[in-house]
């Protein structure tokens, strides 16, 4: 009896820790997701998240083959995310290249590099937690990372709010007014990279793009100002991460998949009704 209670407590402790991590991650997710949606660069976040897999593979290789035990694959993830953000920033800012082709190529190459690294490392590694995420496996180190990324995101939102808004709305005009648009674009991509690494732990590489875009896109239908969109998408994130976690816990299904599915269902509903509202207004 006492053992049962203790087990229950342990189980819920994990759930509570996951909910806590979800709430913390929602802050940076809402802020950066707003910029991603309003600037229409969601495919960039998709490419960065797949490049993260290359970093994770390299991390596993370094830890197990080279033998640097301290080199957690998360470090590989952070480095590869930032490097891919810088490459995408450098390639797309000049405007002379085929941005979509370059981003698509990085998307696939990043993933392939990760697979090769894991192939050449002897032993078996559970890569599913990177591909599909598992918020229930979040560690203290992950929580620390989430808090650091939150601090960066909030600072960037406070310090560069007007500049990032002006660049996202009309980068040409911002450039004429003396804003270094390339610098701020790269800064934004680096923030996207950090948020992506956090999200890889929570929902996994494959589902990052959904959690970064759907809440902000839903919020954009109800607001008149960019910072309202950030606040609303933070709230939407919190609501769906918590409800998804509790539901997946009761159904004994993967938490990341359940979060994305209920989020997707609501997103469709909101899109349907807001379209109907526009149509009725037009008639």
């Amino acid at each position: 009896m006492i053992d049962d209670l203790y087990n229950l407590y342990l189980q819920y402790q994990i759930l509570f820790q996951a909910i806590f991590a979800g709430i913390l991650a929602s802050v940076s997710l809402g802020i950066i997701g707003t910029y991603i949606v309003s600037r229409r660069i969601s495919y960039v976040s998709g490419a960065i998240s797949h490049c993260v897999f290359g970093g994770v593979g390299a991390g596993i290789f370094i830890q197990n083959y080279i033998g640097w035990q301290w080199f957690d694959p998360i470090y590989g993830a952070i480095i590869s995310a930032l490097v891919s953000a810088l490459i995408i920033g450098a390639v797309t800012a000049s405007g002379k290249n085929r941005d979509d082709a370059v981003i698509g190529a990085m998307w696939a190459v990043g993933m392939s590099v990760g697979i090769v690294f894991i192939d050449i490392t002897p032993g078996y590694f559970n890569i599913a937690s990177y591909l599909f995420g598992d918020i229930l496996l979040i560690t203290g180190k992950d929580l620390l990372l989430i808090i650091v990324v939150d601090i960066f995101s909030v600072l960037a939102a406070l310090m560069f709010y007007r500049r990032l808004m002006a660049i996202s709305f009309d980068s040409e005009f911002a450039a004429i007014r003396g804003v270094n648009i390339r610098l701020y674009y790269i800064l934004l991509l680096c923030l996207v990279a950090l948020v992506t690494v956090v999200l890889v732990r929570i929902v996994g590489i494959i589902m990052v793009i959904a959690l970064l875009t759907m809440p902000a896109a839903m919020a954009s239908g109800f607001v008149n100002r960019l910072w309202h969109m950030m606040v609303i998408s933070i709230i939407i994130n919190i609501v769906f991460v918590i409800s998804g976690l509790i539901l997946s816990y009761h159904l004994a299904l993967s938490s990341s998949a359940i979060i994305i599915i209920i989020l997707g269902a609501f997103y469709l509903l909101v899109a349907f009704f807001s379209r109907r509202r526009v149509n009725t207004a037009a008639n």
């Binding site: 406070l158 709010y161 007007r162 005009f173 004429i176 007014r177 239908g221 008149n224 960019l226």
Partner: protein, 249 residues
């Protein structure tokens, strides 16, 4: 008469193909100029070169006696509206205050700047709309919001890309009347394919079709327009208004 824009031997190329040549162009402080020409003829390229958005291969551009880098801050630029995302959540006030985007590191807006923005909005007939989302406005009103944003930069020159293309004819006339009013205090340069609407307001026409040629409005006749567009055009002359109010240099 002070020279506001001074271009000499300008050449702009994209991947070895020259898209714009301009041997000599002088625009003056009180000019009301229209840049006309066929699509792909280099109108927007000329505009972007003047604003420092593209680097020319050779030649020089001076704005108010300064380099483009410094002089561009005196130009209030008004782009074409359809470039914007209707779902972008910004209010009219947010858009106008983008004029002040590079003031201060934290980017907070002072009360004085807000007051100035409200004054500009009411001068342009947009009073009471400051908290509306930009997608709620009509084409003509949106164009006025962009003019308000340009005015908030305290410019000496307004530069507009196709200002009448998204407005119906009454709104287009309204915008042109407004620009005529603003031209009393500053120079106005606009790109337009709509020679019919603009020709009765402007005092000079810059024709751009790879090469840049300047005409006073009265020198615009059927032959030069046909040469410019390389095909037969129907030309409606506004002889009544088309007086030459400036000596053509």
């Amino acid at each position: 008469m002070d020279t506001a824009v001074k271009i000499r031997d300008l050449q702009v190329s994209y991947s070895n193909e020259t898209v714009l040549r301009c041997e000599k162009l002088d625009l003056f402080n009180d000019d009301f100029v229209s840049i006309v020409g066929p699509n792909g003829g280099g109108k927007t390229t000329l505009l972007k070169a003047i604003l420092g958005l593209i680097e020319p291969q050779s030649g020089s551009i001076e704005l108010f006696g300064m380099s483009v880098r410094e002089g561009k801050f005196k130009v209030g630029y008004i782009p074409q509206f359809f470039n914007y995302d209707d779902n972008f959540p910004v209010t009219i006030m947010d858009v106008v205050l983008m004029a002040k985007v590079s003031s201060g590191i934290w980017g907070f807006i002072s009360r004085k700047e807000k007051k100035q923005a409200l004054k500009i909005l009411s001068d342009l007939g947009l009073k009471g709309l400051e908290n509306r989302r930009i997608s709620e406005l009509s084409g003509g009103q949106r164009q006025r919001v962009l003019i308000a944003r340009a005015m908030a930069t305290e410019p000496q020159m307004l530069m507009l890309d196709e200002p009448t293309s998204n407005a119906d004819s009454a709104a287009a006339e309204g915008i042109m009347e407004l620009l005529k009013e603003l031209n009393k205090d500053m120079m106005v340069v606009l790109v337009s394919h709509d020679i019919g609407v603009v020709s009765k307001y402007v005092n000079r026409v810059v024709c751009v079709n790879r090469d840049v040629v300047v005409h006073p409005t009265s020198a615009l006749n059927g032959i030069s327009i046909n040469n410019l567009y390389d095909s037969e055009m129907v030309v409606i002359r506004h002889d009544r208004q088309c007086c030459e109010n400036k000596e053509f240099k």
